[in-house]
């Protein structure tokens, strides 16, 4: 679903060039959760943004669902993001003046889905936000906000979710809830790239990548007991019409 090949990203800082990612390669298959761990400043978030077609790499290649986003014109890249990727952030990034339902529906403004409203209602129900549908983000608890952000990420039936510290601001109960939803997404052949410091989150990953100074220095399989989808399943999910896109997620 997602493949980064020898990606390097550098920035110009006040003291010269900063290498945020240094020749990093990874792949996330459909039906797989890959966690990225590492100390602050190790390049995890930059890696996620490069993977999300939001930040073009200085070197290397990125492939999402078999497509190279950085070879596309901006319009097609935006369309790829709208249809294929769901983002979840530590700070939720909900739009403050839209209700829970409207926030979940927001991606439909970028990419029209005929059944977006019905699907939004399904997600609201499934995420336990039925009594909060008309509330603004400021009226929600942190757990509810993150569930709303998750609903927004899932609206367009993406094949890939990129989550940046999704449990960073949550208590243990809400952490478990969010991770459970990510697991369910994975079960529907969705692919998840999870940037986290949280060891509880890492437990749910199929693989854990360790980053230091922009490099991926370790790739370990987690102790998760659930079966990892076969490569065949993964290849199947790579097609945009993956089963994840047809399920409730």
């Amino acid at each position: 679903m997602l493949e980064l090949r020898n990606v390097t990203k550098t920035f110009q800082g006040p003291e010269g060039e900063v290498r945020a990612i240094d020749h990093a390669s990874l792949s996330v298959r459909s039906g797989e959760i890959v966690a990225v761990q590492g100390p602050s400043g190790s390049g995890k978030t930059t890696l996620l943004l490069v993977a999300g077609a939001l930040l073009s790499p200085t070197e290397g290649g990125v492939s999402i669902g078999g497509q190279a986003p950085y070879s596309m014109p901006p319009k097609r890249r935006a369309r790829l993001r709208a249809r294929t990727i769901g983002f979840v952030f530590q700070q939720f990034h909900l739009i403050p003046y839209l209700s829970v339902r409207d926030n979940i529906l927001a991606p439909s403004g970028a990419y029209y889905e005929p059944d977006a409203e019905r699907r939004a209602d399904d997600l609201i129900h499934h995420l336990g936000l039925g009594n909060r549908a008309k509330h603004l983000p400021s009226q929600l608890s942190t757990g509810e906000r993150q569930r709303t952000a998750l609903g927004r990420a899932l609206l367009n039936r993406p094949g890939l979710i990129l989550a940046d510290e999704p449990t960073g601001n949550l208590d243990s109960e809400n952490t478990e809830t969010v991770l459970r939803y990510l697991q369910e997404f994975r079960k529907q052949n969705g692919a998840v790239l999870l940037v986290t410091h949280d060891p509880r989150a890492a437990v749910h990953a199929d693989r854990i990548l360790h980053m230091e100074f922009g490099r991926i220095v370790g790739d370990t399989t987690s102790g998760r007991t659930e079966a990892t989808p076969s490569p065949e399943q993964g290849e199947h999910a790579c097609r945009i019409g993956a089963s994840a896109r047809n399920s409730a997620y």
Binding site: L54, Y97, D102, G109
Partner: protein
């Protein structure tokens, strides 16, 4: 979720910021419309003021015309008939005629059939020193008017002085302390004061009138007069007066007739003078109003662009603040697939919507102000109030277009900046 829905909810959420932006637009549009209304009111006020002054002038002229017509009808011109050998220069300097003529000339004229004269007033005048009191006076002997025999007899304009009485001018009775009924001695003869005139500011103030017969006796000129005043000469043009003078001289050979100043002439002159002055006043008023308009145009040409520019800067500032505040929001919109064009549209549509609201508010405020100002200065709507909306739809459409244009121009740069923001920057730096 449509863009317009997101835009409307954002406006409702950020009411204060949007209200301040709308206020700036309202001020800009209000100042533009207000300037137009101000100048329009000025023009209407000028037209009304000048029309009123012209109407006043016409009314006064009409009144004077009427008075002159009545005066001409009732009084006519006065001609003074003097002996032909009377030197007119002496007559002007001495205030009386030294030469005399037969009193019967009056009867001759009255019976002559001359139709343009109503009355004749013979008199014998002489400047002399009042012997008893040593005062220089003009003694006038008069017998009252002799009506034209060919006219209907009317109430005489000048009453005769009864025999044995005297009429005194203001200066004489005031300085001598005389009143009606007092007896006064003149040239050895006693007279009872019959009438004391009010001040006239002329030689009349030092004149004394007695009956013609007594004057002839006192002055030793029985049956003689030295002036015959022809009253109520009914001629309206100078040509008619010349003909009348010729006719009198023909009837009374050995005389000359001169025109004496009359109220009609004075009024005609006053009328002409007033007309000239009124026209000058109106021209001066017109000039003043034109100068005032130039001053107002200058003020408007400086003030309005300044206000519009200040408002545009304010709107742009609000726009940049909005973009900064919504940095993460713009980033997430892009992250979930919104294109730069959609983000631009989101910002610009908001600018236009707020601009329209502000423009409408500014237009309404300006029309209300115009209504109030027009009522106060012109006494009518002066293009304000409902009048502006109904009579000047072009102005309203222009005002709203200006509001939208201002909003788009001022909002374009912030919106463009918003589209150029790298979402990764906002999301990476959270």
């Amino acid at each position: 979720m449509k863009l317009i829905g997101i835009m409307m909810k954002e406006i409702l959420y950020r009411k204060l910021a949007c209200a301040l932006t709308a206020l700036a637009t309202a001020i800009a549009v209000g100042s533009c419309v207000g300037a137009v209304v101000l100048l329009d009111s000025h023009d209407r006020q000028t037209a009304k003021l000048l029309a009123r002054k012209e109407a006043e002038m016409k009314a006064r002229m009409a009144s004077l015309n009427d008075e002159m017509r009545k005066a001409a009808l009732k009084l006519g011109f006065n001609l003074l008939i003097l002996p032909s050998d009377q030197n007119l220069r002496d007559w002007h300097t001495e205030d009386y005629a030294a030469k005399d003529m037969p009193e019967e000339y009056v009867s001759t004229l009255a019976a002559s059939g001359i139709v343009t004269v109503r009355h004749f007033l013979p008199s014998l005048q002489k400047r002399l020193v009042w012997p008893e009191i040593k005062r220089t006076i003009i003694l006038v002997g008069t017998r009252g008017e002799v009506p034209n025999m060919h006219k209907d007899p009317r109430q005489p304009l000048v009453q005769p002085v009864p025999t044995g009485t005297i009429v005194l001018g203001y200066e004489l009775h005031r300085s001598l302390g005389l009143a009606v009924g007092d007896t006064v001695r003149l040239m050895g003869r006693d007279f009872t004061v019959h009438l004391c005139h009010n001040e006239r500011g002329s030689k009349d103030d030092i004149s004394a009138w007695i009956s013609l017969r007594e004057a002839q006796e006192l002055l030793g000129k029985p049956g003689r007069v030295n002036t015959i005043l022809a009253l109520k000469c009914l001629c309206m043009g100078s040509q008619d007066i010349a003909l009348l003078r010729q006719e009198i001289v023909r009837i009374l050979p050995g005389t000359q007739a001169i025109e004496v100043g009359s109220r009609v002439v004075a009024r005609a002159e006053a009328r002409l003078k007033l007309k000239k002055q009124s026209k000058q006043m109106i021209e001066a008023e017109r000039e003043n109003r034109a100068q005032l308009r130039v001053q107002r145009e200058l003020l408007v040409s400086i003030l309005v662009p300044s206000i519009v520019v200040a408002c545009a800067v304010w709107i742009a500032h609000m726009g940049f603040a909005d973009v900064k505040e919504r940095d993460a929001e713009i980033a997430i919109l892009k992250a979930i697939g919104y294109r730069s064009g959609q983000v631009l549209l989101l910002f610009l549509s908001k600018s236009i919507a707020v601009g329209l609201v502000g423009g409408t508010a500014g237009l309404l405020a300006a029309t209300c102000a115009g209504y109030w100002y027009g009522n106060r200065t012109v006494g009518e709507t002066a293009g304000g109030g409902a009048g502006l909306l109904t009579t000047q739809p072009g102005l309203c459409a222009t005002a709203l277009s200006v509001a939208c244009l201002l909003a788009v121009i001022a909002g374009w740069l912030p919106a463009f900046v918003a589209t150029q923001r790298d979402p990764a920057d906002a999301l990476r730096n959270e």
